[in-house]
């Protein structure tokens, strides 16, 4: 036992025993600092101490009861508060789930006349914004923390000076649908001799409003009624994604998109666009058309329709149409046949084009039917003209006081530097921003408004529909409602609640539709309980109709376009403008079409990419030589993109988003989500064209050039594919029938059309007897014809099930944790691309491939048909994920960060926060199933169908998801299961899934029914 080592430095080692020699040999002559034996000794002691510690008593945990329990509050039980979503001006109905005093889960309000129970990804992500520790907690005076008293005093003094000198006061807001806030602003501005309230939307409908001023004598935005339209033709309007009120439009669009065997009817939806939008991807027929050519095609369409009406106006010669004459004639024919129930929509910011759209809708008799101007929408009020005037005033130094609320003025406008300089000349600059955004850092005072879940507010998204927002918790910081701030500066001490009540007394109560006399209290209580109230709409402001002549065509008739490229700026679902850029759920939400997270990019067509020798991720430079602006962003090659169109998303490059550098797990190979010194994406607002009296998001004077740099994009679509790689596919199985499609004529003939021939009897079961499911048998059906791919379910699931955010680098490594993903499939060619969206989550197979390979029984089957994942048993072999044909299992590679104690308040206490090394996946919201069952037990009544709703189902704006008990013959899921359109993905393998899909039906005769590619 007395070996000597050859190393002199070991000679003096007091503990030099036998193991030394072995160590030295093992390590090839080099001695490590700590020997293996020493290490094992230490580890052994440590582990035994840890084990012994486990046997000790825990540190005492306190349970603090109320001193006085609020009435009706039950600890641990969720209560719903009816409110209005303030994520955008669409004003959808919201039910805020509040548990033990904290808002946790936002749900759609099924009774709401507009949103009808849907809620988009933004609405779902509100709680994360609420618990954001970077939100301002106190007012700022020149960037320093200040007290309200001191801020108020200085602002009031400065305002008095401005008032005395007769200086100009300008109040810029994003669209305000709140009647109370509007009147508060008006009251505040009244005392100044030169004061104006300017509405500015970074995604404005200014041209539609201006066009109606021309054609109908009133600057209004019609309320489009898609539920009444059997033919919808959209020119660029992404109404299912981001345009005006997507949740409302999705719900309305859906009502005519679900044919049944008894009534094989559905609406026809044609879509013209240059980029690939969510709406375009759902159209029956999508035409590639650059946005600068909308006018030309519309002028041809107008003339073609006018010919059918028999009154063709004398017009100039039309520019040649890029659309084939046959297609145009077919479209005109469809529209003409559906007079009074058709709808032409357009997102152009060119007033002349919008006038033409009005003329077409008028010609088709759609006004008063699908285009409602008697009860106009107030969801977009912004005026580009007013804003451009303001910019001129600012540049000329004519503004004395500038107030900005609800928008980041400098971030969302081009010419940032000169604008910042102009704002520097203003005597008093006040921002109401919730964080120190780009404009707020220029402001003298930042008076942070409450988060919408902390504040009293109202909204009138459509004339005659007024809804209330109520606070769901005490404000987390020393923020103050904008209503209160304005009152203080006008010399009132009223609270926001009092201001709202008195505004309702004077403005809303007199408009009540109730025939019996109502007191304010009754009216208020009922409205607050319901969340909304329908009142008499304000008077129809339109003074004239039908004032169309050839001039509307002539303006466009002579236009030609020869520009090489047409730049289109758009907004992504979930982010809209810059206001949600600090929400990591929305940043990690894959774009429904491109599936890219955490970045914006330049989308180009394959032909353009080939021309410039670009591949995905090559950084390109987009420049506008006219005003010297340029932007360098990575390329993304997009199917269905017009060859001339390059598109870039707005709402990126927001100040402060460098905070997300360390958003995911930090490990030695990890790369930051945001590069050092950078931000999440880049701000494309510099490319907005402020010419021609509008802030145009479309411009033709751009150049595109390749740089030699690369920037990797994190996309979720290139993996988790259900396809067999072509090189290994057996003969005849190269294409799997994952997305099944049929056309409406075929469907009318045979409701089961589109069904492939399978060679199995479907009756084989692995365990036929011992797994009888006699009680409940949970199942889900997804109507792929209703699903638009809007991804609201994805964030709903994330919020409900504590799904962590992993950051860009982990997404690149295919390790995003979303339990539900939306697979996107392309069919057809670039000119006529056919896209399908398929939500994919655990299919809860009866013959589950994952269950048979788990060595520790961590994934087992319940007697109610659920595939259960037991985290505490899981040892992380990942065999189950390898064996899952749907690729829906997610492995926790890390303990994802939960250090932000404020952010942790958004965690759902009913769902375990998973630790490193365990597998997880969709549980079909088993916590909700258990809660529903217990609820029924408490009531002593059987469970009613529809009572339990999964998180994804509840929020779906298209009501595409049905969930319920397959054993209940009366249930909706049972009916869906027997739907002739129903099929199971990969059902030929006899997994006997609990999730089924309803086949896509396209309203066209010439459908290519190949499955599509998963690219």
């Amino acid at each position: 036992m007395n070996y000597e080592t050859s190393k002199p430095d070991n000679v003096n080692d007091a503990s030099g025993d036998g193991a030394r020699a072995a160590d030295v040999d093992l390590h090839g002559g080099e001695s490590p600092e700590i020997s293996r034996r020493r290490f094992l000794e230490a580890a052994g002691f440590t582990f035994s101490f840890v084990a012994l510690n486990g046997c000790s008593r825990p540190t005492p945990e306190l349970a603090l009861p109320f001193t006085e329990q609020p009435e009706g509050m039950i600890p641990g039980q969720s209560q719903s508060y009816a409110s209005t979503c303030a994520g955008c001006p669409a004003g959808c109905g919201l039910l805020g789930g509040v548990r033990d005093g904290r808002p946790l889960k936002m749900e759609g309000m099924p009774e709401h006349p507009l949103s009808k129970g849907g809620l988009c990804a933004i609405g779902q992500a509100l709680p994360l914004g609420l618990y954001d520790s970077h939100r301002l907690k106190h007012p700022l005076q020149r960037g320093e923390q200040a007290e309200w008293k001191q801020v108020d005093q200085t602002i009031i003094q400065t305002l008095e000076k401005v008032d005395a000198s007769g200086g100009a006061v300008r109040f810029v807001t994003s669209t305000i649908t709140s009647p109370t806030l509007r009147s508060s602003i008006d009251a505040f501005l009244k005392r100044f001799s030169d004061a104006r309230h300017i509405s500015f939307d970074s995604l404005s409908c200014s041209a539609i409003l201006d066009a109606h001023e021309k054609t109908h004598g009133a600057r209004l935005l019609p309320h489009y009624r898609l539920e009444d339209a059997s033919v919808i033709v959209s020119f660029g309007a992404d109404f299912l994604g981001t345009w005006i009120s997507p949740v409302e439009f999705t719900a309305a669009w859906r009502t005519r998109r679900v044919p049944t065997a008894e009534r094989p009817e559905m609406s026809y939806h044609a879509h013209f666009e240059g980029r690939m939008s969510l709406t375009g991807s759902n159209a029956d027929r999508r035409f590639r058309l650059a946005p600068d050519e909308f006018g030309v095609v519309l002028s041809h369409l107008y003339v073609s329709l006018a010919e059918r009406s028999g009154e063709v106006p004398q017009h100039d010669a039309l520019t040649e149409s890029p659309l084939a004459a046959a297609d145009l004639a077919a479209l005109a024919e469809r529209l003409w046949a559906a007079r009074g129930e058709s709808l032409v929509l357009c997102d152009s910011q060119d007033v002349a084009v919008q006038v033409l759209v009005n003329a077409i809708n008028y010609l088709l008799g759609n006004y008063g039917k699908t285009v409602d101007i008697a009860r106009p929408s107030r969801q977009r009020q912004g005026s580009d003209r007013d804003l451009l005037e303001l910019i001129d005033e600012l540049r000329a130094g004519k503004v004395s006081a500038l107030f900005v609320a609800g928008t980041d003025l400098t971030h969302n406008l081009p010419g940032h530097d000169t604008l910042a300089e102009a704002i520097g000349k203003v005597e008093l600059v006040v921002s109401f921003a919730e964080r120190q955004d780009d404009f707020a850092s220029l402001a003298h005072f930042v008076c942070p408004d409450h988060h919408s879940l902390e504040a009293w507010m109202d909204a009138e998204p459509v004339s005659g529909l007024v809804s209330l927002s109520q606070p769901m918790l005490q404000p987390l910081g020393k923020t103050r409602s904008i209503l209160e701030s304005l009152a203080r500066w006008s010399g009132h001490e009223d609270s926001a609640y009092d201001i709202l009540r008195s505004s309702w007394e004077t403005n809303i109560l007199p408009r009540t539709m109730s025939t019996t006399a109502t007191t304010l209290r009754e009216f208020w209580d009922r409205s607050l309980h319901d969340g909304f109230v329908e009142v008499v709409p304000t008077e129809n402001a339109a003074t004239k109709v039908g004032d169309f002549d050839a001039s509307s065509v002539n303006v466009i008739a002579g236009r030609g376009n020869a520009a090489e490229y047409c730049l289109t700026l758009y907004s992504k679902i979930g982010l809209t403008d810059s206001r949600h850029a600090h929400n990591p759920w929305l940043q990690e939400l894959p774009d429904p079409v491109t599936k890219v997270t955490w970045d914006n990019y330049v989308s180009v067509s394959a032909a353009t990419a080939e021309k410039l020798k670009l591949i995905d991720g090559d950084v390109v430079r987009v420049a506008t030589p006219g005003n010297g602006a340029s932007l360098e962003l990575p390329t993304l090659i997009q199917r269905g993109q017009h060859d001339r169109v390059i598109s870039i998303a707005l709402g990126y490059g927001v100040k402060g988003t460098d905070r997300f550098a360390k958003v995911g797990p930090q490990w030695f190979e990890g790369r930051p989500t945001v590069e050092p010194g950078g931000l999440v994406g880049k701000n494309a607002a510099s490319l907005i064209d402020p010419g021609n009296g509008s802030l145009s998001l479309v411009r033709s004077d751009v150049t595109l050039s390749k740089t030699d740099r690369r920037h990797d994009l994190a996309s979720t679509q290139e993996y988790h594919s259900l396809e067999i790689p072509p090189n290994v596919a057996p003969h005849g199985a190269e294409v799997r029938d994952i997305v099944q499609k049929t056309s409406l004529p075929e469907f009318a003939k045979n409701p089961e059309s589109g069904k492939p021939e399978h060679h199995f009897d479907g009756q084989l079961q692995l365990w036929p007897e011992d797994h009888a499911k006699e009680g409940h048998r949970w199942g889900m059906a997804i109507d792929m014809n209703a699903c638009t791919g809007c991804s609201a379910c994805l964030v709903a699931c994330q919020s409900e099930n504590n799904v962590p955010v992993v950051g860009k680098d982990e997404v690149r490594r295919q390790r995003e944790m979303h339990w539900i993903r939306i697979d996107r499939y392309y069919g057809g060619d670039d000119d006529d691309v056919d896209v399908s969206h398929q939500p994919m989550m655990c299919q809860h197979c009866d013959n589950a491939p994952c269950e048979t390979v788990c060595p520790v029984l961590a994934t087992v089957h319940s007697d109610e048909g659920l595939n259960e994942q037991v985290y505490n048993r899981c040892v992380g072999t990942r065999y189950c994920a390898n064996n899952c044909p749907y690729k829906v299992r997610r492995f926790n590679w890390f303990d994802y960060p939960h250090e932000d104690s404020l952010l942790n308040l958004s965690l759902n206490p009913d769902v375990a926060v998973r630790s490193r090394g365990v597998m997880e996946k969709c549980s079909m919201c088993v916590q909700r199933i258990e809660e529903g069952k217990i609820d029924a037990k408490r009531r002593g009544a059987p469970l009613v169908d529809g009572e339990i709703k999964t998180a994804c189902q509840q929020s779906c704006p298209a009501q595409a998801i049905v969930f319920g008990d397959l054993n209940d013959a009366e249930s909706a899921i049972h009916a869906a299961d027997e739907n002739p359109r129903g099929y199971g993905v990969l059902e030929e393998f006899n997994f006997r899934q609990s999730v089924s899909y309803l086949r896509v039906v396209r309203n066209r005769g010439d459908l290519q029914t190949d499955g599509g590619e998963h690219v």
Partner: protein
């Protein structure tokens, strides 16, 4: 030489730890098994007195047990429903009454040591007079029954099914200071679920599920 010393020290240490562990053998438990845990509470509230001697129903104070997942610790205003008037034990009050009758004076308010602490949390001098600008605080009770975070337990489901409180909490009505009576381990839960499904509860059939996700989600 030093090897002998080390061996001796190790042997001494081994014997010492064996003695220590053996003496505490009766208290051995697996990690996280808190059976018998009985922490000192901020106010020496006696369940024996209230639930046992006075026979107050458990659900009078823990009313949420019927309605939600947590039984809940009663808010202080529940205590004050009685203790606005009852300021000390019956014997002490009775004696003071007799004494005051004898001495022909109004009885003095006698407040027991525990109730003094209760009033202190509400910032009251005596049960009826709040201190000006007083601030009521929650009583920092120490939680006794605490399941791990990965377990969901719903009181109302069990109460509705007819499971007696004592089945899990033991004879609380005889405990001066509450202690965890059962192990509350998974095996213990599962045994009861099996037994309930097989034999029913109080004569009526129940379906106590054995699915993992009933408790773990």
């Amino acid at each position: 030489m030093h090897r002998i010393i080390v061996t001796v020290i190790l042997l001494v240490g081994l014997f010492y730890s064996l003695i220590v562990l053996a003496s505490g053998m009766s208290k051995w438990r697996l990690p996280d098994n808190q059976q018998g845990y009985s922490p000192k509470q901020p106010i020496a509230y006696s369940h024996r007195l209230h639930a046992g001697e006075l026979g107050i129903d458990c659900k009078f104070c823990h009313s949420a047990a019927e309605h939600g997942q947590h039984a809940g610790i009663p808010s202080t205003d529940v205590c004050m429903k009685c203790h606005k008037f009852v300021t000390s034990s019956f014997d002490v009050l009775q004696e003071e009454m007799k004494k005051s009758d004898k001495e022909k004076r109004k009885p003095n308010t006698i407040i027991s040591a525990e109730l003094k602490e209760l009033y202190a949390t509400l910032d009251l001098d005596d049960p009826k007079t709040p201190r000006p600008n007083g601030k009521a605080n929650s009583i920092p009770w120490v939680r006794v029954h605490n399941l791990p975070d990965f377990v969901s337990f719903d009181h109302s489901a069990h109460v509705t099914a007819g499971v007696a409180c004592q089945k899990c909490h033991g004879p609380v009505e005889s405990m001066e200071r509450v202690r965890q009576f059962e192990s509350l381990s998974m095996g213990w839960c599962v045994n009861c679920h099996r037994d309930a499904t097989e034999n029913g509860i109080d004569g009526h059939a129940v379906n106590a599920s054995l699915n993992c996700t009933v408790c773990h989600h």
